[in-house]
Symmetry: none
Subunit: 342 residues, 3 copies
């Protein structure tokens, strides 16, 4: 970072500080690089949005266009304070360069050390029309060398951006199966690294945390199938046979098993993987059926496209789902009858 510039010039510099919490770190207490990257980008977003709005009439938000290579020189620990200082170091017609320095401070010992530096490029997009790139107010440089060096960095990154755009910027990905409404089309899974806030004091995952992730996957499967607003209608009984511990990676997978006129049934599995313990094997922790419905803007249920089953297994699961659906329907009607007869 340029040592000439005053650190607290109102428009060109900013500092963000935060204590590192248990959820920011891995089990060994080292803060995730991703936590730092997120803080760096927040500082960059604030300073470049502020700068781009300092002149001119049309309001804009700065969109991140590129982050230069970053080295993490030393890990940060829980309880330390991360100080992220960001400064605008170059402006082109439509781009802003922000340079960031991160310092870890141990507030008990007073030790401070640089953990990393980063360089980010932002582009101001009009708030009214996000496809319109606005102009960036120019900054003043202390000398021509400073400006010249900035221009060189700008030209270099421009070339590299262009190269990657040609390489993979416009990749359109085929879905696993191109056929909509099949089981493969909507099936989804997520991975979650179990952190301290997910657990009881003794390091076991709260059942509620698991159920929340299961519902999240089921909701994604349902939305992918019907492409409309979906809500949870019911959850079948869930049994928890084995405990999941802090530090495990859990994989939550969902696949659609059955559709009626107005509802979808999604089977969800939770698999636990004690990644850092060589001796223990991955195991199935939980499984359950979630039923989703789709609602229009007035809250009225919408029709659901029928699930297209392809394999024998899918057809079998569809029939089993239909059985559960009919049983529930029958049970609910007999309960209603019982209520009206009371």
């Amino acid at each position: 970072m340029d040592q000439h510039s005053a650190p607290f010039c109102p428009l060109r510099a900013i500092q963000i500080s935060r204590i590192m919490r248990p959820d920011d770190a891995n089990i060994a207490g080292s803060v995730h690089g991703g936590t730092i990257l997120k803080m760096i980008e927040e500082a960059g977003f604030i300073i470049s949005t502020r700068h781009c709005n300092s002149q001119g009439e049309e309001h804009s938000m700065a969109a991140l266009a590129r982050v230069e290579r970053t080295d993490f020189l030393s890990p940060m620990c829980i309880g330390e304070v991360a100080h992220v200082s960001a400064e605008i170091t170059y402006t082109a017609k439509h781009s802003v360069e922000v340079q960031v320095q991160v310092i870890a401070e141990n507030i008990l010992t007073g030790d401070k050390r640089i953990t990393n530096r980063a360089s980010l490029w932002y582009v101001p997009l009009s708030i009214r029309n996000v496809d319109k790139v606005l102009e960036v107010p120019p900054i003043e440089y202390t000398d021509t060398e400073q400006e010249e060096n900035g221009r060189k960095r700008y030209e270099a990154q421009k070339l590299e951006r262009l190269a990657t755009k040609q390489k993979n910027g416009d990749v359109i990905l085929p879905m696993i199966s191109l056929e909509p409404h099949t089981v493969n089309f909507s099936q989804s899974s997520l991975i979650h690294l179990v952190g301290p806030s997910d657990c009881t004091l003794h390091g076991f995952v709260h059942g509620g945390v698991t159920m929340k992730l299961m519902d999240e996957v089921a909701g994604i499967v349902a939305a992918r199938h019907c492409k409309t607003n979906v809500v949870t209608a019911s959850v079948d009984a869930i049994n928890f046979h084995r405990k999941i511990q802090k530090g495990f990676v859990i994989t939550v997978s969902g696949r659609m098993t059955f559709t009626s006129n107005k509802s979808m049934e999604i089977e969800v599995f939770v698999d636990a993987d004690p990644i850092v313990e060589d001796t223990r094997e991955r195991f199935r922790a939980v499984s359950a059926y979630f039923t989703y419905v789709s609602l229009d803007e007035k809250g009225k249920p919408l029709s659901i496209p029928e699930l297209k089953t392809e394999t024998e297994d899918e057809k079998k699961r569809f029939e089993e789902g239909k059985m559960r659906y009919l049983q529930t329907k029958a049970k609910r009607q007999s309960e209603k009858l019982a209520l009206t007869q009371q």
Copy 2:
């Protein structure tokens, strides 16, 4: 829920309330079923842990064993207050039944409605030895019918639990590839539904949020490969070509490309899927290389098991990774040299 019991009976009842926030809901403003399930389980955990520790000398934590089928009668909205009331309704020798009722309150109109009921079973595990199940202090019943109905529910769930345990409780899952240190063995991906807190005021994902998820996947790949404590060492330049919007589902996938003696290179892809917009296609939003190292308890770098490449593509990517590694190393050494010569 039993109307006889006093609402503030110290041991047997609790109420948890919270305002529903944007992050608790989907884009249409309906609160995720998973948010409600998590609150229900928090109430159940508190009340059953409290009850199980109310007598006896050995402390225990209540572990969730089963949730009965739950129907969501009506969706909750952002800004409404969720009231979760839980009550202990039956105790067996080693199990506690908790019944929960959830009410949505609109604090502007005063409207209240029941959104769902749930029934949970907990088992007290000793804190000193989590494999030891402790005894549950019995509750008193208002009449023998209440006790008798509880016993019936207890017996019914016991049978069902046993059935599912035999069905899928002990499934051990094979890894995709059984061979450790291959690319397939460690590759991982996660799905994230973009929520309001991930976005700028105008509904576009902050670049920092994307980078945090990328680092999370890279860290899981690295830990799966070397089974030891890992930290981010560096991130290569990342280019952001296309904007990701609120409500999109993003898939973040990572695979190991190269290992040196003390470092691992992981390639990470981010794909964006505008699930509810039929007309727009899934696209590759970002990709980048993360370098990870593994540290022992004193922060000293550990040796990394060599990556076993199997296919031609994997071998090619390994060679490319080696080139990047050697280039970075050379660049760093020339920088060091320049510094010492100054």
Copy 3:
């Protein structure tokens, strides 16, 4: 809190409970005062918004106007359950007083203790026009003394609010001094971009979110000064004069003003900056005094290094802090005396 009122009186009382998680606490496991302040304000917001909408046709949201001085009697720990009970205790034409009591419950041992009490004032703002203050439906009092005492509290806070409104305007410039125990050495600031989950449905920051950030900065200042484990002991009255909106950047700065043998007083400022709106200027939103103590591993208060004042302003603030300290001490002793004489 008034013992006469029924606990489930639908309009006038509410209870919020939650397990304290690792992220709620410092490294020593003591829950941050800011976490508690945020829960207190959530309870206050729910109950006063509910009450203000119980009559009349125009909907309103209750905006926090003032929090009276709060003492933290005992720190809460991770794993304990915080119960926050709030009750409406007085209504003026345009103001609601909410009294709150916080209880920490150890669900393993069954221990319960009061950790603090608080008194908050809210003002109902029309949802259609946030600059319009609506009228508050009156509550009924059990006797005239109760009403009379409420009126006295109302008049007293009104005077104080008016006084602070005229005062605001000091700015803290971050500067790092190498000399330990000076004001410059420990002063700190953090920046926060206001996101959707920080706000009410109508886009204004919850007062509790602001207080949590204030406590975080005060805690960093305190730890930097004494280099040992610190906890919030009390918070002086806080007045909220201007609303902060979604998308604003807030800067929270803290500096130490006074030390006694066993306590530190930290002054905290909150400045709001509407970064994307050129026409609106940055403004001082809130300021307050936090008192911190330092505890050893057994919870015994430690001696605090004396604050070294350097400038005339610092010496003046130190003397003012000493006055506040002696007044509070005298007030507490006269209250104790009054209790023993009853």
